[in-house]
């Protein structure tokens, strides 16, 4: 074995190495020369001596390192090739969406149930008794016409009793009456649900929308209690130290009645476009349950009192999500729905 022989082997190796196509083949060539050719070269060393042994040994070692370096760069190359482009988009499963009104309603329900309220339900198609009479709306009171009610066509409607005359409920308050009849005090309920108004639609008025009604009846339930419960609710809902304020108002089924404003969580009462520069947002109608409403539900108003409130879910969702047209909620437009 001469130094020239090693050169020949090296040339042969290079020829073979370069004629390969795959990384796997190249590895195989390296392996072959390392294990077969080189080991026979090293084996032949023992037959040599002196200067030629050192010379051939050196050449053999150089060749070995050459193969190793080839192998190494090959390895690097394969590693390089297996590296992922992490900026390529992933394969996404298809996920639908939940309606924004469902989402807000659920958040409200969670907060109230933590405060001991029970979620109650009632029919969307109501009768006049529960929608009006039981709630102290007087017969022929102008407020009955104000509410722009969807009355259901019925034969000989005039002859029917108010419990038979059907309509689409104009508020969730009838459930107050229904629930109190079945369950005596003390009670704490909320009633989320769809309500209806027979009026022309525009960006802030829909013919159907959602309300969350609340009712708490017990011994000595007071305006101060209402303020505390609502304060807790709104601080949790708006995740901040919002304040509430009550202003006088009128509803037939509460006395005293108030509008409830919440301090604007966006500008912190400084005034912004969301709160019309007032620092406050009108958010719910409320009041102490009218004694006649308690009486209608067979609850003694001298023994029990309570507060009731009702808020528009669509309106709060619109404020929170900066939705400028309430009609989008009922459009079924996937360009809208898929955002949630």
């Amino acid at each position: 074995m001469q130094k020239e022989d090693i050169e020949k082997i090296k040339k042969k190796f290079l020829k073979e190495f370069e004629s390969t196509e795959t990384s796997k083949e190249r590895k195989k060539v390296c392996k072959k020369y390392m294990e077969e050719e080189l080991s026979s070269v090293f084996a032949s060393l023992k037959n040599l001596s002196g200067e030629s042994k050192a010379e051939v040994g050196k050449a053999a070692n150089e060749f070995k390192h050459f193969i190793l370096s080839q192998k190494e760069s090959e390895k690097k190359e394969t590693q390089e090739q297996s590296k992922l482009d992490v900026t390529l988009p992933g394969k996404e499963p298809r996920l639908g969406s939940i309606h924004p009104l469902t989402k807000l309603q659920k958040r409200c329900e969670k907060i109230f149930t933590r405060m001991g309220f029970v979620v109650a339900d009632g029919p969307e198609m109501e009768n006049e008794w529960y929608n009006f009479d039981a709630l102290n709306f007087k017969e022929d009171h102008p407020v009955r016409e104000m509410q722009d009610t969807f009355f259901i066509k019925q034969e000989d409607r005039e002859k029917l009793s108010s419990k038979e005359k059907l309509l689409m409920r104009t508020h969730t308050s009838p459930v107050q009456a229904r629930y109190m009849e079945k369950n005596g005090p003390p009670l704490r309920i909320i009633v989320p649900g769809r309500v209806f108004r027979n009026e022309a639609t525009d960006s802030s008025h829909e013919i159907n929308f959602y309300q969350i009604e609340g009712l708490m009846v017990g011994k000595d339930v007071s305006v101060a209690n209402f303020k505390a419960v609502m304060g807790s609710f709104f601080r949790q809902l708006f995740e901040g130290n919002v304040e509430i304020r009550l202003r006088p108002s009128y509803f037939p089924f509460t006395e005293p009645s108030f509008e409830t404003d919440v301090s604007c969580s966006i500008c912190e009462k400084k005034g912004c476009s969301v709160c019309d520069q007032t620092g406050w947002t009108e958010i719910m109608g409320a009041g102490m349950v009218h004694p006649r409403v308690l009486e209608n539900a067979k609850i003694d108003p001298t023994e029990f009192s309570g507060f009731a409130f009702g808020m528009g879910v669509d309106r709060i969702a619109a404020i929170e999500r900066k939705i400028d047209d309430a009609r989008l909620f009922y459009s079924g437009d996937l360009r809208f729905l898929k955002q949630f």
């Binding site: 298809r94 996920l95 639908g96 969406s97 939940i98 309606h99 001991g116 029970v118 109650a120 339900d121 969307e124 198609m125 022929d140 102008p142 969807f150 009355f151 259901i152 066509k153 059907l166 689409m168 003390p186 769809r194 027979n198 009026e199 022309a200 639609t201 159907n208 708490m216 017990g218 000595d220 339930v221 007071s222 305006v223 101060a224 209690n225 303020k227 505390a228 419960v229 807790s232 304020r245 009550l246 202003r247 006088p248 108002s249 009128y250 006395e255 005293p256 009645s257 509008e259 102490m288 009218h290 004694p291 009192s305 909620f329 009922y330 079924g332 437009d333 996937l334 360009r335 729905l337």
Partner: protein, 668 residues
């Protein structure tokens, strides 16, 4: 209603707070002020007077009283002093009230001069949105704004006969209004009439005949109280709403007729000259009783949840003109005649609370105990369903509860509930199903999206066979990216994950929104819970829907009955299962279920699971033939199955299948 700041100031000697300050005080203690705006040297405050206080507060006097109670400033009632002449009004004219009028006051002024009214009256009218006309008409309007009592002045010389009547209009009776608008009346419209004809629509609009003009010298002044219901109906029937009709609709306190009448006569004689006729005609058909309410301060504290000082309560009530008698903490109050809204002690508590200020009530958590509900949390199950369909790629939609004629055309009209006078024909019927609106969703969205996957949970309404109205909750699904089988797969996962019961499917076979041949009815434990399948060609053509979509319709309430949170645990098998594949050649019309049931029956308990992995219909199988490829999983709870046992069982299954005429297990 629009209020003039200067007008309000006229009730006080002290200077009022600035218009902005006043607006914010009113908002916190009275009603919402929607706008404050400068008008010339005056300001207009637009206050939203709610119906409970329309009787006394659609007037500057009423609001002045509120301001007085809120600020503690003293206010004075307007001057109603009259110096009468010699002419007795009762010698001049008589009044005959026949219908719908609880009080009629008529006064007269003679020898007056009609000209422009003083600037302050004109300006205040303008601030409140009224147009000045002449001194007599302006004063009449001014006093309406002042007291809330609508009045009307007639030129005495233009009245035929010496009699004024209040009566219902005759059928098709005609009248021309002050604006020269011709009206044809019906018999439920109340009119003021002279001997000849109607000279005014009572409480709504004056007629042109007895109009007060620059030549008028003598007037009769009407201050009446008409039945609110009659005015409301009349105003609706003739399509005219006025400042007067608005007030009458809400009811005006009886006493105001006389007070306002005197006030007008007092102002006219001062401003337009002339002499007041002596006396007045005053016919009253009702009497208002003074009401008295007693309560204890403790009751106020219980409702408000705060202690209002006794003296403070007394002061508030007196400022609102309640007559208060107090013995320690026990109150007895007489309600002023103009406060018809105050009927019981809770109403009095509201007066105390709002004037005292709700901002002065410290929040306090309720002490009342919490009652744990025993009711089924249906809402939670609904959430689980929604989340699952969202997971399948569907978006939740909220649609209207109403449908139009097109939507209704899919249903028997007799079964639909119809709305009285809907604002739009889009909302003519209550939806008897979620499907029409979901189809609309598909149609609208397929313009933008290739794949439309939508679901909705909502109420539907219909008339049942015994003619009673029904309301039910449904789950509706529509998808243009699924076919029958992929939707069926999702439905099966949905049902088997959330509900307990044997699921079975049968052909739908009716032809409606669904394609009867390509749709199925789903049952749980034999009870029908819904339908799903392809939309019929007819439906798609009718609605011009492009995509070949599938839909589903579930009875949600019935579905809920099958919900079970805690399914029983089935022990994990300790011995391995063995898999065998089997391919069965059958007729083209043979249904999968027939073959599968046969295999299950023969396989018995040891056949743990059976899946179908291929259905093949190739020409080489022969005409009208197909083959089902099954995978069978054998497993025993107690031991490892030997090859021999399985071979025997497989043999048994194959024999049973082969025995069926025309079926053949294909040997590999």
């Amino acid at each position: 209603m629009k209020f003039s700041y200067n007008f309000l100031q006229s009730f006080f000697k002290e200077k009022l707070p600035t218009p902005e300050e006043l607006a914010s005080l009113l908002m916190m203690h009275f009603f919402e002020v929607e706008e404050v705006k400068k008008v010339g040297k005056d300001y207009v405050l637009d206050i939203d007077i709610l119906s409970s206080r329309a009787g006394d507060c659609l007037s500057h006097m009423g609001v002045a009283r509120e301001i007085s109670a809120i600020t503690g400033m003293k206010y004075e009632w307007p001057n109603t002093d009259i110096k009468s002449g010699k002419t007795e009004i009762e010698d001049q004219i008589s009044v005959n009230v026949r219908n719908a009028c609880s009080r009629y006051v008529l006064s007269g002024v003679e020898g007056l001069n009609v000209k422009k009214s003083p600037a302050y009256i004109q300006n205040r009218l303008r601030t409140c949105g009224l147009k000045p006309i002449n001194n007599v008409v302006d004063i009449v309007n001014y006093v309406m704004l002042e007291t809330g009592q609508p009045l009307h002045a007639f030129d005495a010389e233009k009245i035929e006969g010496e009699k004024i009547s209040v009566r219902y209009a005759r059928k098709r009776e005609k009248i021309v209004t002050l604006e020269e608008k011709r009206l044809e009346l019906n018999e439920s419209v109340l009119v003021i009439s002279d001997k000849q004809s109607a000279i005014g629509v009572a409480g709504i609009k004056g007629g042109i005949v007895p109009e007060v003009d620059e030549n008028t010298k003598t007037i009769y002044l009407e201050a009446a109280n008409f039945d609110p219901k009659v005015i409301r109906r009349g105003s609706r029937d003739i399509g005219i709403r006025t400042d007067a009709s608005l007030r009458f609709e809400h009811g005006v306190p009886l006493e105001f007729a006389k007070i306002a009448s005197d006030r007008v006569v007092s102002l006219i004689t001062k401003i337009a000259g002339g002499r007041a006729m002596k006396g007045r005609i005053d016919q009253s058909f009702e009497e208002e009783k003074e009401r008295e309410i007693t309560f204890d301060a403790e009751e106020v504290r219980n409702i408000l949840g705060t202690e209002v000082p006794l003296k403070k309560m007394e002061k508030i009530l007196r400022a609102l003109e309640f007559k208060v008698q107090r013995n320690e903490s026990s109150f007895s109050v007489k309600i002023p005649f103009f406060r018809k809204d105050v009927e019981r002690k809770e109403d009095v508590v509201e007066e105390i609370g709002r004037i005292y200020g709700y901002e002065n009530i410290e929040p306090c958590q309720p002490k009342e105990s919490i009652v744990v509900s025993q009711e089924k949390e249906e809402e939670n199950i609904e959430d689980l369903c929604k989340n699952m369909w969202q997971g399948f790629g569907f978006s939740e939609s909220y649609n209207y509860s109403f449908i139009n004629e097109t939507g209704a055309s899919f249903y028997q009209k007799d079964n639909l509930l119809e709305v009285e006078k809907p604002v739009s024909l889009e909302f003519k019927y209550l939806r008897p199903s979620l499907l029409p609106e979901l189809l609309r969703n598909l149609k609208e969205n397929e313009k933008t999206f290739e794949e439309v996957m939508i679901f909705e949970i909502g109420k539907i309404f219909y008339k049942s066979s015994n003619n009673s109205a029904k309301e039910e909750k449904k789950l509706g699904i529509i998808s243009s990216s699924d076919d029958f089988y992929s939707l069926k797969g999702k439905i099966n996962v949905f049902l088997s994950n959330l509900f307990v019961g044997d699921i079975s499917y049968s052909s739908y076979e009716k032809e409606d929104i669904f394609d009867g041949l390509r749709s199925a009815t789903v049952s749980l434990n034999g009870e029908v819970i819904g339908n799903f399948g392809e939309i019929s060609e007819k439906t798609r053509n009718k609605l011009k829907i492009k995509s070949k979509a599938v839909i589903a319709d579930f009875d949600f309430e019935r579905l809920l009955e099958f919900y079970k949170e805690t399914k029983t645990y089935e022990p994990i098998a300790r011995f391995p299962s063995v898999i065998r594949d089997l391919s069965v050649l059958v007729f083209g019309e043979t249904r999968y279920i027939e073959v599968a049931e046969k295999i299950r029956k023969e396989g018995g308990k040891t056949l743990k699971e059976l899946t179908l992995f291929d259905v093949y219909e190739g020409e080489e199988l022969g005409k009208n033939r197909k083959s089902f490829a099954f995978r069978l999983y054998f497993q025993d709870k107690g031991k490892t199955l030997s090859a021999e046992t399985i071979n025997k069982l497989q043999e048994k299954i194959i024999n049973a299948l082969d025995e069926v005429s025309g079926w053949k297990v294909r040997k590999k």
